[in-house]
Protein backbone atom coordinates (compact mmCIF):
# COMPACT_ATOMS: atom_id res chain seq x y z
CA UNK A 1 0.00 0.00 0.00
CA UNK A 2 1.22 3.46 -0.88
CA UNK A 3 1.92 6.30 1.52
CA UNK A 4 -0.47 9.23 1.74
CA UNK A 5 0.37 12.92 1.72
CA UNK A 6 -1.54 16.18 1.85
CA UNK A 7 -0.92 19.00 -0.62
CA UNK A 8 -2.33 22.36 0.40
CA UNK A 9 -2.67 25.40 -1.79
CA UNK A 10 -0.96 28.36 -0.10
CA UNK A 11 -4.08 30.34 -1.00
CA UNK A 12 -6.03 28.47 1.67
CA UNK A 13 -3.89 30.17 4.33
CA UNK A 14 -3.55 26.88 6.22
CA UNK A 15 -0.32 25.17 7.23
CA UNK A 16 -0.88 22.33 9.72
CA UNK A 17 2.27 20.23 10.29
CA UNK A 18 0.42 16.95 9.68
CA UNK A 19 -3.11 15.80 8.90
CA UNK A 20 -4.19 12.43 10.28
CA UNK A 21 -0.54 11.34 10.42
CA UNK A 22 0.18 12.30 6.79
CA UNK A 23 2.93 14.75 5.88
CA UNK A 24 1.74 18.11 4.55
CA UNK A 25 3.30 20.24 1.83
CA UNK A 26 2.08 23.76 1.16
CA UNK A 27 2.39 24.61 -2.53
CA UNK A 28 2.21 28.14 -3.86
CA UNK A 29 -0.71 28.47 -6.26
CA UNK A 30 -1.41 24.70 -6.22
CA UNK A 31 -4.77 25.08 -7.93
CA UNK A 32 -3.22 26.47 -11.11
CA UNK A 33 0.25 24.90 -11.21
CA UNK A 34 -0.01 21.19 -11.98
CA UNK A 35 3.76 20.96 -12.44
CA UNK A 36 4.43 22.25 -8.92
CA UNK A 37 1.86 19.83 -7.48
CA UNK A 38 3.53 16.91 -9.26
CA UNK A 39 6.97 17.96 -8.00
CA UNK A 40 5.69 18.23 -4.41
CA UNK A 41 4.13 14.76 -4.64
CA UNK A 42 7.39 13.29 -5.92
CA UNK A 43 9.30 14.96 -3.06
CA UNK A 44 6.96 13.41 -0.49
CA UNK A 45 7.26 10.03 -2.25
CA UNK A 46 3.53 9.35 -1.83
CA UNK A 47 1.09 7.52 -4.09
CA UNK A 48 -2.10 8.77 -2.43
CA UNK A 49 -2.77 12.43 -2.02
CA UNK A 50 -5.34 14.72 -0.40
CA UNK A 51 -5.60 18.06 -2.17
CA UNK A 52 -6.64 21.09 -0.13
CA UNK A 53 -7.80 23.57 -2.75
CA UNK A 54 -9.03 27.16 -2.55
CA UNK A 55 -12.36 27.47 -4.27
CA UNK A 56 -12.81 25.04 -7.13
CA UNK A 57 -12.41 21.40 -8.03
CA UNK A 58 -9.10 20.16 -9.45
CA UNK A 59 -8.62 20.63 -13.18
CA UNK A 60 -8.00 17.71 -15.52
CA UNK A 61 -4.43 19.00 -15.94
CA UNK A 62 -3.81 18.91 -12.20
CA UNK A 63 -5.17 15.37 -11.88
CA UNK A 64 -3.18 14.27 -14.91
CA UNK A 65 0.04 15.72 -13.53
CA UNK A 66 -0.49 13.96 -10.18
CA UNK A 67 -1.17 10.63 -11.89
CA UNK A 68 1.99 10.99 -13.94
CA UNK A 69 3.86 11.80 -10.72
CA UNK A 70 2.84 8.41 -9.33
CA UNK A 71 -0.59 8.88 -7.73
CA UNK A 72 -2.69 5.72 -7.81
CA UNK A 73 -5.95 5.63 -9.75
CA UNK A 74 -8.59 6.76 -7.19
CA UNK A 75 -5.64 7.84 -5.03
CA UNK A 76 -6.48 11.56 -5.23
CA UNK A 77 -9.13 13.07 -2.94
CA UNK A 78 -9.79 16.77 -3.41
CA UNK A 79 -11.26 19.00 -0.71
CA UNK A 80 -12.42 22.52 -1.56
CA UNK A 81 -11.68 24.62 1.51
CA UNK A 82 -12.74 28.10 0.38
CA UNK A 83 -14.00 30.10 3.35
CA UNK A 84 -13.64 27.32 5.96
CA UNK A 85 -11.89 27.98 9.26
CA UNK A 86 -8.74 26.04 10.24
CA UNK A 87 -10.60 23.62 12.56
CA UNK A 88 -13.23 22.78 9.98
CA UNK A 89 -10.66 22.51 7.19
CA UNK A 90 -8.55 20.18 9.33
CA UNK A 91 -11.56 17.94 9.87
CA UNK A 92 -12.38 17.77 6.15
CA UNK A 93 -8.76 16.99 5.26
CA UNK A 94 -8.54 14.31 7.94
CA UNK A 95 -11.75 12.75 6.62
CA UNK A 96 -10.35 12.59 3.10
CA UNK A 97 -7.07 11.13 4.41
CA UNK A 98 -8.96 8.44 6.34
CA UNK A 99 -10.90 7.54 3.21
CA UNK A 100 -7.69 7.22 1.20
CA UNK A 101 -6.06 5.10 3.86
CA UNK A 102 -8.74 2.44 3.38
CA UNK A 103 -8.46 2.44 -0.41
CA UNK A 104 -7.96 -1.16 -1.49
CA UNK A 105 -4.38 -1.80 -2.64
CA UNK A 106 -4.14 -1.85 -6.42
CA UNK A 107 -7.71 -0.60 -6.86
CA UNK A 108 -8.43 -0.17 -10.55
CA UNK A 109 -11.39 1.04 -12.53
CA UNK A 110 -11.95 0.71 -16.21
CA UNK A 111 -10.18 2.49 -18.99
CA UNK A 112 -12.65 4.86 -20.53
CA UNK A 113 -12.76 5.25 -24.29
CA UNK A 114 -13.17 8.61 -25.88
CA UNK A 115 -16.46 8.53 -27.75
CA UNK A 116 -19.60 6.52 -28.33
CA UNK A 117 -20.26 3.14 -29.84
CA UNK A 118 -17.75 3.55 -32.67
CA UNK A 119 -14.93 4.43 -30.33
CA UNK A 120 -12.90 1.24 -30.35
CA UNK A 121 -10.97 2.64 -33.29
CA UNK A 122 -10.67 6.08 -31.68
CA UNK A 123 -7.78 8.35 -32.68
CA UNK A 124 -7.82 10.17 -29.36
CA UNK A 125 -7.33 8.56 -25.98
CA UNK A 126 -8.06 9.81 -22.51
CA UNK A 127 -5.09 10.98 -20.54
CA UNK A 128 -4.17 9.05 -17.40
CA UNK A 129 -6.11 11.35 -15.08
CA UNK A 130 -9.45 10.53 -16.60
CA UNK A 131 -8.59 7.15 -18.02
CA UNK A 132 -9.74 5.40 -14.87
CA UNK A 133 -13.47 5.42 -14.38
CA UNK A 134 -15.12 3.80 -11.38
CA UNK A 135 -16.51 0.38 -11.97
CA UNK A 136 -18.27 -2.19 -9.79
CA UNK A 137 -15.78 -4.54 -8.18
CA UNK A 138 -16.59 -7.91 -6.60
CA UNK A 139 -14.74 -9.06 -3.51
CA UNK A 140 -14.27 -12.76 -4.26
CA UNK A 141 -13.78 -13.67 -0.61
CA UNK A 142 -17.07 -12.16 0.51
CA UNK A 143 -19.15 -13.22 -2.50
CA UNK A 144 -21.48 -16.17 -1.84
CA UNK A 145 -21.44 -17.23 -5.49
CA UNK A 146 -24.15 -17.44 -8.09
CA UNK A 147 -25.42 -20.85 -7.11
CA UNK A 148 -26.53 -19.54 -3.74
CA UNK A 149 -27.13 -15.84 -4.36
CA UNK A 150 -26.57 -14.05 -7.69
CA UNK A 151 -28.82 -11.13 -6.68
CA UNK A 152 -26.38 -8.69 -8.32
CA UNK A 153 -27.00 -10.34 -11.71
CA UNK A 154 -30.74 -9.66 -11.34
CA UNK A 155 -30.31 -6.10 -10.09
CA UNK A 156 -27.92 -4.64 -12.70
CA UNK A 157 -29.87 -2.34 -15.04
CA UNK A 158 -27.13 -2.57 -17.69
CA UNK A 159 -26.81 -6.37 -17.57
CA UNK A 160 -23.14 -5.76 -16.85
CA UNK A 161 -23.02 -8.35 -14.06
CA UNK A 162 -23.18 -11.84 -15.48
CA UNK A 163 -22.69 -15.30 -14.10
CA UNK A 164 -20.50 -17.20 -16.54
CA UNK A 165 -19.42 -19.59 -13.79
CA UNK A 166 -19.77 -20.13 -10.07
CA UNK A 167 -18.85 -16.47 -9.41
CA UNK A 168 -20.55 -13.39 -10.82
CA UNK A 169 -18.34 -11.18 -12.97
CA UNK A 170 -18.58 -7.51 -13.94
CA UNK A 171 -18.24 -6.57 -17.61
CA UNK A 172 -16.28 -3.36 -17.05
CA UNK A 173 -17.07 -2.00 -20.50
CA UNK A 174 -20.82 -2.27 -19.86
CA UNK A 175 -20.77 -1.11 -16.21
CA UNK A 176 -21.88 2.50 -15.85
CA UNK A 177 -20.92 2.62 -12.15
CA UNK A 178 -24.49 3.48 -11.16
CA UNK A 179 -23.95 1.65 -7.88
CA UNK A 180 -27.33 -0.11 -7.95
CA UNK A 181 -25.77 -3.48 -7.17
CA UNK A 182 -23.88 -2.25 -4.10
CA UNK A 183 -26.68 -1.90 -1.51
CA UNK A 184 -28.39 -4.98 -2.94
CA UNK A 185 -25.50 -7.33 -2.23
CA UNK A 186 -26.37 -8.98 1.08
CA UNK A 187 -22.81 -10.17 1.55
CA UNK A 188 -21.12 -6.79 1.20
CA UNK A 189 -19.08 -8.16 -1.68
CA UNK A 190 -19.70 -5.33 -4.15
CA UNK A 191 -18.20 -1.87 -4.19
CA UNK A 192 -17.54 0.91 -6.65
CA UNK A 193 -13.80 1.34 -7.12
CA UNK A 194 -12.58 4.19 -4.93
CA UNK A 195 -15.79 4.34 -2.86
CA UNK A 196 -15.87 1.15 -0.80
CA UNK A 197 -18.09 1.07 2.28
CA UNK A 198 -15.08 0.83 4.61
CA UNK A 199 -13.54 3.92 2.96
CA UNK A 200 -16.66 6.01 3.50
CA UNK A 201 -17.08 4.55 7.00
CA UNK A 202 -13.56 5.73 7.88
CA UNK A 203 -14.23 9.16 6.37
CA UNK A 204 -17.49 9.56 8.30
CA UNK A 205 -15.90 8.41 11.56
CA UNK A 206 -13.48 11.34 11.21
CA UNK A 207 -16.10 13.85 10.15
CA UNK A 208 -19.11 13.05 12.33
CA UNK A 209 -17.86 14.25 15.71
CA UNK A 210 -17.25 17.73 14.30
CA UNK A 211 -19.85 18.53 11.64
CA UNK A 212 -23.49 19.56 11.75
CA UNK A 213 -24.40 17.49 8.72
CA UNK A 214 -23.24 15.35 5.83
CA UNK A 215 -24.04 15.86 2.15
CA UNK A 216 -23.68 12.66 0.13
CA UNK A 217 -23.16 14.02 -3.36
CA UNK A 218 -22.87 12.45 -6.78
CA UNK A 219 -19.55 13.53 -8.28
CA UNK A 220 -21.46 14.59 -11.40
CA UNK A 221 -23.71 16.92 -9.42
CA UNK A 222 -20.94 19.41 -8.55
CA UNK A 223 -22.58 20.07 -5.20
CA UNK A 224 -21.33 22.15 -2.27
CA UNK A 225 -21.87 21.69 1.44
CA UNK A 226 -23.22 24.54 3.58
CA UNK A 227 -20.93 25.96 6.30
CA UNK A 228 -20.50 23.49 9.13
CA UNK A 229 -21.45 20.57 6.87
CA UNK A 230 -19.13 18.15 5.10
CA UNK A 231 -19.35 16.98 1.51
CA UNK A 232 -18.82 13.28 0.84
CA UNK A 233 -18.49 12.78 -2.91
CA UNK A 234 -19.36 9.43 -4.46
CA UNK A 235 -19.25 8.16 -8.05
CA UNK A 236 -23.03 7.63 -7.96
CA UNK A 237 -25.77 7.86 -5.36
CA UNK A 238 -27.04 4.43 -6.38
CA UNK A 239 -24.66 2.96 -3.84
CA UNK A 240 -26.26 4.91 -1.00
CA UNK A 241 -28.85 2.80 0.81
CA UNK A 242 -31.33 4.24 3.31
CA UNK A 243 -29.07 2.85 6.01
CA UNK A 244 -26.41 5.43 5.13
CA UNK A 245 -28.79 8.28 5.93
CA UNK A 246 -30.12 6.56 9.05
CA UNK A 247 -26.64 5.72 10.33
CA UNK A 248 -25.63 9.39 10.13
CA UNK A 249 -28.84 10.44 11.84
CA UNK A 250 -28.27 7.85 14.55
CA UNK A 251 -24.98 9.61 15.28
CA UNK A 252 -26.83 12.88 15.77
CA UNK A 253 -25.85 14.68 12.54
CA UNK A 254 -28.15 15.92 9.80
CA UNK A 255 -27.86 14.43 6.32
CA UNK A 256 -29.03 15.00 2.80
CA UNK A 257 -28.38 13.79 -0.72
CA UNK A 258 -27.19 15.83 -3.70
CA UNK A 259 -28.03 13.69 -6.75
CA UNK A 260 -27.20 14.50 -10.36
CA UNK A 261 -29.86 14.39 -13.09
CA UNK A 262 -28.55 11.13 -14.49
CA UNK A 263 -29.63 7.52 -14.21
CA UNK A 264 -27.04 6.85 -11.49
CA UNK A 265 -29.03 8.94 -9.02
CA UNK A 266 -32.54 7.92 -10.07
CA UNK A 267 -33.27 6.08 -6.84
CA UNK A 268 -31.95 8.82 -4.54
CA UNK A 269 -35.32 10.46 -3.88
CA UNK A 270 -36.90 7.12 -3.02
CA UNK A 271 -34.10 6.34 -0.58
CA UNK A 272 -34.46 9.76 1.05
CA UNK A 273 -38.23 9.34 1.33
CA UNK A 274 -37.84 5.91 2.93
CA UNK A 275 -35.30 7.21 5.45
CA UNK A 276 -37.74 9.99 6.36
CA UNK A 277 -40.54 7.44 6.87
CA UNK A 278 -38.35 5.31 9.11
CA UNK A 279 -37.32 8.35 11.13
CA UNK A 280 -40.94 9.32 11.54
CA UNK A 281 -41.79 5.79 12.64
CA UNK A 282 -39.01 5.98 15.22
CA UNK A 283 -40.48 9.11 16.78
CA UNK A 284 -37.96 11.48 18.33
CA UNK A 285 -34.54 10.22 17.26
CA UNK A 286 -32.27 9.20 20.07
CA UNK A 287 -28.75 9.86 18.79
CA UNK A 288 -26.22 7.41 20.12
CA UNK A 289 -22.61 6.54 19.57
CA UNK A 290 -21.57 3.21 18.22
CA UNK A 291 -19.68 2.05 15.21
CA UNK A 292 -20.89 3.19 11.84
CA UNK A 293 -21.99 0.45 9.41
CA UNK A 294 -22.73 1.18 5.79
CA UNK A 295 -23.23 -2.30 4.40
CA UNK A 296 -26.86 -2.96 3.61
CA UNK A 297 -29.14 -4.46 4.76
CA UNK A 298 -27.47 -4.38 8.18
CA UNK A 299 -26.93 -0.60 7.96
CA UNK A 300 -30.67 0.06 7.85
CA UNK A 301 -31.57 -2.57 10.44
CA UNK A 302 -28.87 -1.46 12.86
CA UNK A 303 -29.65 2.27 12.52
CA UNK A 304 -33.40 1.76 12.88
CA UNK A 305 -32.83 -0.17 16.09
CA UNK A 306 -30.54 2.49 17.48
CA UNK A 307 -32.99 5.28 16.61
CA UNK A 308 -36.24 3.63 17.67
CA UNK A 309 -37.52 3.51 21.25
CA UNK A 310 -37.60 0.01 22.78
CA UNK A 311 -41.36 -0.31 22.49
CA UNK A 312 -41.64 0.89 18.87
CA UNK A 313 -43.97 -1.28 16.81
CA UNK A 314 -44.22 0.66 13.54
CA UNK A 315 -44.10 -1.23 10.23
CA UNK A 316 -42.82 0.62 7.18
CA UNK A 317 -43.55 -1.02 3.84
CA UNK A 318 -41.58 0.53 1.01
CA UNK A 319 -40.04 -0.81 -2.21
CA UNK A 320 -36.85 1.16 -1.58
CA UNK A 321 -36.19 -0.75 1.65
CA UNK A 322 -33.14 -3.03 1.62
CA UNK A 323 -34.91 -5.32 4.08
CA UNK A 324 -37.77 -7.73 3.54
CA UNK A 325 -40.82 -8.78 5.50
CA UNK A 326 -41.80 -12.43 5.23
CA UNK A 327 -45.31 -13.57 6.04
CA UNK A 328 -46.07 -17.25 6.52
CA UNK A 329 -49.47 -18.90 6.46
CA UNK A 330 -49.03 -21.60 9.16
CA UNK A 331 -51.98 -23.60 7.86
CA UNK A 332 -50.28 -24.12 4.52
CA UNK A 333 -46.62 -24.55 5.51
CA UNK A 334 -45.47 -28.18 5.60
CA UNK A 335 -41.97 -27.35 6.86
CA UNK A 336 -40.50 -28.82 3.69
CA UNK A 337 -37.57 -26.36 3.85
CA UNK A 338 -37.59 -25.39 0.15
CA UNK A 339 -37.64 -21.71 1.19
CA UNK A 340 -34.62 -22.06 3.46
CA UNK A 341 -32.69 -23.83 0.70
CA UNK A 342 -33.44 -21.00 -1.73
CA UNK A 343 -32.63 -18.17 0.69
CA UNK A 344 -29.44 -16.39 -0.48
CA UNK A 345 -28.69 -14.93 2.95
CA UNK A 346 -29.75 -17.73 5.33
CA UNK A 347 -32.35 -15.36 6.76
CA UNK A 348 -34.67 -18.35 6.54
CA UNK A 349 -33.31 -21.49 8.19
CA UNK A 350 -34.81 -24.87 8.75
CA UNK A 351 -33.42 -26.27 11.98
CA UNK A 352 -33.55 -29.93 12.99
CA UNK A 353 -33.55 -29.92 16.77
CA UNK A 354 -33.59 -32.93 19.04
CA UNK A 355 -37.32 -32.77 19.52
CA UNK A 356 -38.64 -30.58 16.69
CA UNK A 357 -38.22 -29.24 13.16
CA UNK A 358 -38.25 -25.43 13.26
CA UNK A 359 -38.41 -22.79 10.50
CA UNK A 360 -36.81 -19.52 11.63
CA UNK A 361 -36.50 -16.07 10.09
CA UNK A 362 -33.90 -13.40 10.92
CA UNK A 363 -35.39 -10.07 9.77
CA UNK A 364 -32.11 -8.12 9.79
CA UNK A 365 -30.60 -10.54 7.26
CA UNK A 366 -33.62 -10.70 4.93
CA UNK A 367 -33.24 -8.64 1.75
CA UNK A 368 -36.78 -9.26 0.52
CA UNK A 369 -35.66 -10.92 -2.70
CA UNK A 370 -38.80 -13.08 -2.73
CA UNK A 371 -37.13 -16.31 -3.79
CA UNK A 372 -38.66 -18.17 -0.84
CA UNK A 373 -42.16 -17.21 -1.95
CA UNK A 374 -41.36 -18.26 -5.53
CA UNK A 375 -40.15 -21.74 -4.61
CA UNK A 376 -42.72 -22.50 -1.89
CA UNK A 377 -44.79 -25.40 -3.29
CA UNK A 378 -47.69 -24.62 -0.96
CA UNK A 379 -47.82 -20.87 -1.65
CA UNK A 380 -47.53 -20.40 2.09
CA UNK A 381 -45.11 -17.45 1.93
CA UNK A 382 -45.47 -13.86 0.83
CA UNK A 383 -42.73 -11.24 0.85
CA UNK A 384 -42.74 -7.47 0.70
CA UNK A 385 -40.00 -4.92 1.15
CA UNK A 386 -39.98 -2.96 4.34
CA UNK A 387 -39.10 -3.10 8.00
CA UNK A 388 -40.99 -4.00 11.13
CA UNK A 389 -39.39 -2.35 14.14
CA UNK A 390 -40.83 -4.82 16.64
CA UNK A 391 -39.62 -7.82 14.63
CA UNK A 392 -36.18 -6.27 14.16
CA UNK A 393 -35.92 -5.71 17.90
CA UNK A 394 -37.08 -9.24 18.63
CA UNK A 395 -34.51 -10.76 16.28
CA UNK A 396 -34.73 -14.29 14.96
CA UNK A 397 -38.27 -15.56 15.22
CA UNK A 398 -39.93 -18.86 14.77
CA UNK A 399 -42.29 -19.08 11.79
CA UNK A 400 -43.22 -22.72 12.15
CA UNK A 401 -42.49 -25.73 14.36
CA UNK A 402 -43.40 -29.39 14.38
CA UNK A 403 -42.37 -31.98 16.94
CA UNK A 404 -40.13 -34.79 15.69
CA UNK A 405 -41.84 -38.15 15.57
CA UNK A 406 -40.77 -41.64 14.73
CA UNK A 407 -42.69 -44.43 13.02
CA UNK A 408 -44.76 -46.34 15.57
CA UNK A 409 -43.85 -49.64 13.87
CA UNK A 410 -40.19 -49.44 12.79
CA UNK A 411 -38.91 -46.38 14.67
CA UNK A 412 -37.65 -44.50 11.56
CA UNK A 413 -37.73 -40.69 11.53
CA UNK A 414 -40.98 -39.33 10.11
CA UNK A 415 -41.39 -36.15 8.05
CA UNK A 416 -43.04 -33.27 9.96
CA UNK A 417 -46.71 -33.85 10.72
CA UNK A 418 -48.06 -31.02 8.50
CA UNK A 419 -46.23 -32.55 5.54
CA UNK A 420 -47.68 -36.02 6.18
CA UNK A 421 -51.15 -34.48 6.37
CA UNK A 422 -50.62 -32.63 3.12
CA UNK A 423 -49.34 -35.72 1.33
CA UNK A 424 -52.43 -37.62 2.44
CA UNK A 425 -54.62 -34.83 1.07
CA UNK A 426 -52.85 -34.95 -2.26
CA UNK A 427 -52.88 -38.74 -2.61
CA UNK A 428 -56.44 -40.07 -2.14
CA UNK A 429 -55.18 -43.69 -2.03
CA UNK A 430 -53.58 -42.88 1.34
CA UNK A 431 -56.94 -41.90 2.87
CA UNK A 432 -57.44 -43.63 6.17
CA UNK A 433 -53.83 -44.75 6.63
CA UNK A 434 -52.48 -44.04 10.10
CA UNK A 435 -50.42 -40.82 10.30
CA UNK A 436 -48.08 -42.35 12.84
CA UNK A 437 -46.46 -44.82 10.42
CA UNK A 438 -43.73 -44.28 7.85
CA UNK A 439 -44.58 -44.87 4.17
CA UNK A 440 -43.19 -48.43 4.11
CA UNK A 441 -44.90 -49.60 7.31
CA UNK A 442 -48.17 -47.91 6.21
CA UNK A 443 -48.24 -49.79 2.90
CA UNK A 444 -47.41 -53.11 4.64
CA UNK A 445 -50.24 -52.44 7.12
CA UNK A 446 -52.67 -51.74 4.26
CA UNK A 447 -51.87 -54.92 2.27
Amino acid sequence: MGASAVLLCAGTGLAPPTVGGCPVAVVEDLCDRPGAAAAALRTLDATRVVLGLCDRRPSAELLGALRRAGAEPFGVEAVVLGGRGPAEAGLLLAGAAARLERLAPGERGRTALATGALSRRALLALGPALAQRPVAVIDEDACAGTARCGLCVEVCPEHAVAAPGPRPAVDASACTACGACVPRCPHGALRLAGAAAEQVEAQLEELLPGVAGIVFACAAAGADAPPGWALVELPALGLVGPGWLLQVRARGAAVRLAPCDGACCEGARGVEALAARVLEACGTPRPSGGRLRLREPLATADAALRLAPRDATAVVVDDAAPLGLVHLDPDRCTLCGACAAACPTDALQLGEEASATVLRHEPSACVGCGRCATVCPERALSVERGLDLARLRHGTMELGRAGRETCAACGADLPPLPMRRRVRELLPELAGTPLGLCAGCASRAAS
Binding site: G64, L118, R121, L123, L124, L126, G127
Partner: protein, 188 residues
Protein backbone atom coordinates in the same frame (compact mmCIF):
# COMPACT_ATOMS: atom_id res chain seq x y z
CA UNK B 1 -26.75 18.04 -28.85
CA UNK B 2 -26.13 14.36 -29.49
CA UNK B 3 -22.42 13.45 -29.80
CA UNK B 4 -23.31 11.56 -32.98
CA UNK B 5 -23.35 14.81 -34.97
CA UNK B 6 -19.56 14.77 -34.57
CA UNK B 7 -18.82 11.10 -33.81
CA UNK B 8 -20.15 10.00 -37.19
CA UNK B 9 -18.20 12.53 -39.32
CA UNK B 10 -15.11 11.49 -37.31
CA UNK B 11 -15.63 7.92 -38.49
CA UNK B 12 -16.52 8.81 -42.10
CA UNK B 13 -13.34 10.86 -42.48
CA UNK B 14 -11.21 7.95 -41.23
CA UNK B 15 -9.51 5.43 -43.52
CA UNK B 16 -12.33 3.36 -45.11
CA UNK B 17 -11.13 -0.07 -44.01
CA UNK B 18 -13.53 -3.00 -44.16
CA UNK B 19 -14.25 -2.82 -40.40
CA UNK B 20 -14.80 0.89 -40.62
CA UNK B 21 -17.26 0.54 -43.51
CA UNK B 22 -19.15 -2.15 -41.60
CA UNK B 23 -19.47 0.25 -38.65
CA UNK B 24 -20.79 2.99 -40.95
CA UNK B 25 -23.35 0.62 -42.39
CA UNK B 26 -24.63 -0.22 -38.91
CA UNK B 27 -24.94 3.46 -38.01
CA UNK B 28 -27.23 4.87 -40.74
CA UNK B 29 -30.26 5.18 -38.41
CA UNK B 30 -28.08 7.11 -35.96
CA UNK B 31 -26.90 9.31 -38.81
CA UNK B 32 -30.47 10.17 -39.77
CA UNK B 33 -31.22 11.05 -36.15
CA UNK B 34 -28.09 13.21 -35.96
CA UNK B 35 -29.15 15.09 -39.11
CA UNK B 36 -32.57 15.66 -37.57
CA UNK B 37 -30.92 16.93 -34.36
CA UNK B 38 -29.10 19.51 -36.50
CA UNK B 39 -32.38 20.54 -38.10
CA UNK B 40 -31.36 19.12 -41.48
CA UNK B 41 -33.19 16.84 -43.89
CA UNK B 42 -31.96 13.28 -44.14
CA UNK B 43 -31.18 13.37 -47.86
CA UNK B 44 -27.49 14.13 -47.24
CA UNK B 45 -27.26 10.95 -45.17
CA UNK B 46 -29.23 8.95 -47.74
CA UNK B 47 -26.90 10.16 -50.51
CA UNK B 48 -23.91 9.05 -48.43
CA UNK B 49 -25.50 5.65 -47.79
CA UNK B 50 -26.28 5.10 -51.49
CA UNK B 51 -22.85 6.18 -52.69
CA UNK B 52 -21.21 3.90 -50.12
CA UNK B 53 -23.27 0.87 -51.09
CA UNK B 54 -22.53 1.55 -54.78
CA UNK B 55 -18.78 1.88 -54.17
CA UNK B 56 -16.27 -0.94 -54.23
CA UNK B 57 -14.23 -1.19 -51.00
CA UNK B 58 -10.84 -1.40 -52.71
CA UNK B 59 -11.60 1.57 -54.94
CA UNK B 60 -12.70 3.62 -51.94
CA UNK B 61 -9.46 2.86 -50.09
CA UNK B 62 -7.43 3.84 -53.17
CA UNK B 63 -9.39 7.07 -53.47
CA UNK B 64 -8.78 7.84 -49.79
CA UNK B 65 -5.03 7.30 -50.24
CA UNK B 66 -4.98 9.39 -53.43
CA UNK B 67 -6.98 12.32 -51.98
CA UNK B 68 -5.55 12.58 -48.49
CA UNK B 69 -2.27 10.71 -48.21
CA UNK B 70 -0.24 10.64 -51.37
CA UNK B 71 2.27 9.48 -52.82
CA UNK B 72 3.62 12.87 -53.60
CA UNK B 73 1.60 15.90 -52.69
CA UNK B 74 -1.98 14.82 -51.95
CA UNK B 75 -4.62 16.99 -53.67
CA UNK B 76 -6.50 17.72 -50.42
CA UNK B 77 -4.39 16.98 -47.33
CA UNK B 78 -6.86 16.83 -44.39
CA UNK B 79 -4.97 19.03 -41.89
CA UNK B 80 -6.38 22.28 -40.53
CA UNK B 81 -3.02 24.09 -40.47
CA UNK B 82 -2.83 23.85 -44.26
CA UNK B 83 -6.28 25.31 -44.86
CA UNK B 84 -6.48 28.19 -42.43
CA UNK B 85 -5.84 31.51 -44.12
CA UNK B 86 -6.47 33.76 -41.12
CA UNK B 87 -3.16 33.42 -39.27
CA UNK B 88 0.19 35.12 -39.90
CA UNK B 89 1.20 34.88 -43.55
CA UNK B 90 4.45 33.00 -42.88
CA UNK B 91 2.46 30.16 -41.36
CA UNK B 92 0.21 29.60 -44.36
CA UNK B 93 0.54 26.19 -45.91
CA UNK B 94 2.67 24.76 -43.09
CA UNK B 95 1.91 21.57 -41.28
CA UNK B 96 1.66 21.68 -37.46
CA UNK B 97 1.04 25.41 -37.29
CA UNK B 98 -0.69 27.42 -34.59
CA UNK B 99 -4.12 25.78 -35.19
CA UNK B 100 -2.63 22.36 -34.44
CA UNK B 101 -1.07 23.66 -31.22
CA UNK B 102 -4.37 25.21 -30.17
CA UNK B 103 -6.16 21.92 -30.92
CA UNK B 104 -3.72 20.06 -28.66
CA UNK B 105 -4.43 22.58 -25.91
CA UNK B 106 -8.18 21.96 -26.27
CA UNK B 107 -7.71 18.18 -26.19
CA UNK B 108 -5.67 18.50 -23.04
CA UNK B 109 -8.35 20.61 -21.40
CA UNK B 110 -10.75 17.74 -22.16
CA UNK B 111 -8.29 15.26 -20.67
CA UNK B 112 -7.57 13.79 -24.10
CA UNK B 113 -4.36 13.08 -25.89
CA UNK B 114 -3.63 11.73 -29.34
CA UNK B 115 -3.03 8.01 -29.36
CA UNK B 116 0.48 7.22 -30.41
CA UNK B 117 -0.71 4.27 -32.44
CA UNK B 118 -3.15 6.50 -34.33
CA UNK B 119 -0.17 7.89 -36.34
CA UNK B 120 -2.03 11.11 -37.00
CA UNK B 121 -1.48 14.83 -36.52
CA UNK B 122 -3.67 16.62 -33.96
CA UNK B 123 -5.39 18.81 -36.56
CA UNK B 124 -6.47 15.92 -38.81
CA UNK B 125 -10.12 16.25 -39.79
CA UNK B 126 -11.18 12.97 -38.12
CA UNK B 127 -9.33 13.80 -34.88
CA UNK B 128 -10.99 17.20 -34.56
CA UNK B 129 -14.46 15.75 -35.12
CA UNK B 130 -13.73 13.00 -32.62
CA UNK B 131 -12.66 15.52 -29.99
CA UNK B 132 -15.87 17.46 -30.62
CA UNK B 133 -17.88 14.26 -30.14
CA UNK B 134 -16.19 13.71 -26.80
CA UNK B 135 -16.74 17.32 -25.75
CA UNK B 136 -20.45 16.99 -26.60
CA UNK B 137 -20.73 13.68 -24.76
CA UNK B 138 -19.08 15.19 -21.67
CA UNK B 139 -21.17 18.36 -22.02
CA UNK B 140 -17.94 20.39 -22.04
CA UNK B 141 -19.59 23.40 -23.68
CA UNK B 142 -16.59 25.70 -23.65
CA UNK B 143 -14.35 23.27 -25.52
CA UNK B 144 -17.14 22.16 -27.86
CA UNK B 145 -17.83 25.76 -28.84
CA UNK B 146 -14.11 26.40 -29.34
CA UNK B 147 -13.72 23.32 -31.53
CA UNK B 148 -16.62 24.42 -33.74
CA UNK B 149 -16.12 28.19 -33.89
CA UNK B 150 -12.33 28.46 -33.67
CA UNK B 151 -11.51 25.34 -35.69
CA UNK B 152 -13.98 23.38 -37.80
CA UNK B 153 -16.04 26.37 -38.98
CA UNK B 154 -12.84 28.09 -40.13
CA UNK B 155 -11.64 25.39 -42.50
CA UNK B 156 -14.39 22.87 -43.26
CA UNK B 157 -16.03 25.12 -45.92
CA UNK B 158 -12.82 25.51 -47.97
CA UNK B 159 -11.62 21.96 -47.34
CA UNK B 160 -14.97 20.37 -48.20
CA UNK B 161 -15.34 22.44 -51.37
CA UNK B 162 -11.89 21.28 -52.45
CA UNK B 163 -12.67 17.63 -51.67
CA UNK B 164 -15.94 17.85 -53.60
CA UNK B 165 -14.04 19.23 -56.60
CA UNK B 166 -11.15 16.77 -56.42
CA UNK B 167 -13.08 13.60 -55.60
CA UNK B 168 -13.50 10.94 -58.28
CA UNK B 169 -15.63 8.73 -56.05
CA UNK B 170 -19.22 9.96 -55.45
CA UNK B 171 -18.89 8.89 -51.79
CA UNK B 172 -16.29 11.55 -51.01
CA UNK B 173 -18.25 14.20 -52.92
CA UNK B 174 -21.34 13.33 -50.86
CA UNK B 175 -19.31 13.29 -47.62
CA UNK B 176 -17.82 16.73 -48.40
CA UNK B 177 -21.26 18.24 -49.04
CA UNK B 178 -22.75 16.65 -45.93
CA UNK B 179 -19.84 17.76 -43.73
CA UNK B 180 -20.04 21.33 -45.00
CA UNK B 181 -23.77 21.39 -44.24
CA UNK B 182 -23.34 19.85 -40.77
CA UNK B 183 -20.54 22.29 -39.90
CA UNK B 184 -22.70 25.21 -40.95
CA UNK B 185 -25.60 23.92 -38.84
CA UNK B 186 -23.31 23.39 -35.82
CA UNK B 187 -21.78 26.85 -36.13
CA UNK B 188 -25.20 28.51 -36.02
Amino acid sequence: MTPDVAALPARWWSRPTEDERAAWTAAWPRAREAAAALGLAADGVDELRLTLSAADGETLLEEYERLFVGPGRAPVPPYESLWRADGPRREHGRLMGAPAADAVRLYRALGLSLRRDAHELPDHVAVEWEALAYALARDAREQAAALVQAHLALWMPAFCAAVAAAAEQPFYRALALLTAAWTEALAR
